[in-house]
Amino acid sequence: MPTYLLLIPFLPLFSFAFTFLFGKRLGVRSHWLPIVTVLISLSCSIYAFFQVKNGHHVNMDLYTWISSGAMTVSVGFLLDELTSVMLIVVTSISSLVHIYSVGYMKGEAGYYRFFSYLSLFTFSMLMLVLGNNFLQLFFGWEAVGLSSYLLIGFYYEKVSAADAGKKAFIVNRIGDFGFILGLFLIYASFGTLHYEPIFAHVDQIANQTFTMLGVTLNLPTAIALLLFCGAMGKSAQLPLHVWLPDAMEGPTPVSALIHAATMVTAGVFLVARCNPIFELSMTALNVITIVGSITCLFAATIALTQTDIKRVVAYSTISQLAYMFIACGVGAYSAGVFHLFTHAYFKALLFLGCGSIILAMHHEQDVKYMGGLKKYMPITYWTFLLASLSISGVPGFAGFFSKDEILAMAFVSPVGAGKFAWFIGTLVAGITAFYSFRLFFLIFHGEFRGTQKQKDHLRESPKVVTVPLMLLAVGAVGAGMFGIPAVLGGNANWGHFLEPVLGHPQVLPSHATEIILMIISVCAGAFGIFLAWKMYLKTPELPQKIRDRYPKFYKLSLNKYYVDEIYEASIIKSMLSFSRYVILNFFDIALIDTIVNGIPRIIGRVSGIMRKVQDGLVSHYLAYMGGGVVFILILMYARS
């Protein structure tokens, strides 16, 4: 079996174990091992990519993990086009974040802990993408959840951080609830959990039905939707998106790596991986598209009014992920993965940029106290600008190609919700551009609104921080080169490369439509940028006016549509009081234990009464005995 493939996940694992156990002694040197190992993984991944490019696929089992009766699952690796792309994304961004963290986390307590967790995450993510069966996917799925839990709660003494970590894990669990049931259904229908045989026979479950409690369901739809539950949890789609913004409590590199570039895209990866199943169910595809579209708009509108820079970026992440789901929903999986790829870079860049700003601002994250940072931190400024352009879909930048492909596909796709998705997508393209540049202008232009003390300490971040920024900037600009559509003279390598796994979209847009759609979305983007410039540079009082004009909308968006509050009230509070008052106090204490303790108490009472009979008076004893005699005599007659 190819060693390089084993090295990719297991080197980070080793570095995790080593750093976690001995990091305390290593102290500030504890970042070396993780960085080295992740770089090796990166190189291996690149090697693997070319292996695949030359047609060397791998599907091998390491050992049998669980085997019970007919059920056999092994730990095994599958290397194909999709995997190789994911490998590149994960390892490259992970290594950059590793390096970046050396600067960012400098002098933090638990420095070694941070790096060991990063390695753990890298390992889990790689296991997730490399697995050749659903159970290993699930393993990675949960393991990344764990590492995100640990990293979000890195500053565990902050209650909000600890809460956020817990929230992330539990919300994901809710998604996994569906996911694991999906796995069971898959096993029930295919008798195995390995990709290969499943996708080999997938066509046979087309319009199969299965019955549960008298309800008859379409089998592919059921499987697809159950799996999609998992994806919704991981990729923070409505209504399970609530954990991602809170996840910003974690250190910024973590947000960049886990909550922007890699882990949150696992949901998209899952859908893409299972595309043969999804393809069989129009219902599922429609659901995905609609959920994607709604989330897309929803998140973007929230992002408009947030002032915490990381939260703005977080919401933009949610809406970008929604784009990817739209892509999957309309059957343009390769487009989705393409957007995943590009998004990884520019979004990571945005986050790391934020990180660099936060460093400079001494962990001040509120945009209200920023402004005019341009002259203090040029590199951050330029890289951030590139990222913003990319996300706004300015032609030539990575974001432009991927997003427009998605929109085009949505427009022409046979899926019912396609058009709707296209409309929302285009709208959101504008909004995205607007809030990205709103953020950009507020941070870098205008007057500095912070304290004098902060102002004195403003300076550009060290090399170890800026170099990764620049490298990512390259990605953010150039990542699009892999998938330039034919209409723009490209040869759509991306689609061709992934075709073996993700198949070929049924309908392709004609060049004309594609051009038109492009122009529309570009205009939307441009308009957004212009509006941002107008509102935040030209006439800064304008936003206040609008706020006063539409206070309701403003409040709604500022408070994220009160979703958290609703959940808090409707689910958590009610659950807790249900548990305390109904289950514990009523059932357990008032009902069961009263009975349990009541019986002895009653017997005790009876005993107290019965002993009264023994009143020490012989005559009474004799009377009772006489009564007994009579009783026995009567019984005797009865039986005679």
């Binding site: 009143d615 008076l617 004799l622 009377a623 006489g626």
Partner: protein
């Protein structure tokens, strides 16, 4: 000729009178007397039966019962005397220290 049942009725009545006395009187000596009444009822039964059964078993049994009655009387009265020494009473409802 007297039928056996007459004797038995008499014995039964005597026995229940004895029980009655044994239950309701509070003077232990009277209770003993009632006990003797019961024993006599039994004796009457036995003698009458053995008469009609043409056997002596009943008679001998009666003989033994009388013996035992004597013995019992001796011990019972001894107990009563002890009781009287301790508590200066022979009333059965005064001895209810042990109860519950």
């Amino acid at each position: 000729m007297i039928p056996l049942s007459w004797y038995m009725v008499l014995a039964a009545i005597l026995f229940s009178v004895g029980i009655y006395g044994f239950l309701v009187r509070r003077n232990i000596i009277i209770m003993f007397l009632s006990l003797e009444l019961m024993l006599n009822a039994v004796n009457l039964n036995l003698v009458a039966m053995s008469h009609y059964l043409d056997s002596l078993r009943g008679h001998t049994f009666t003989f033994f019962i009388i013996t035992v009655a004597a013995a019992e009387a001796a011990i019972g009265l001894g107990l009563v005397i002890v009781l009287f020494r301790n508590k200066k009473t022979v009333y059965v409802d005064h001895i209810n220290e042990l109860k519950g």
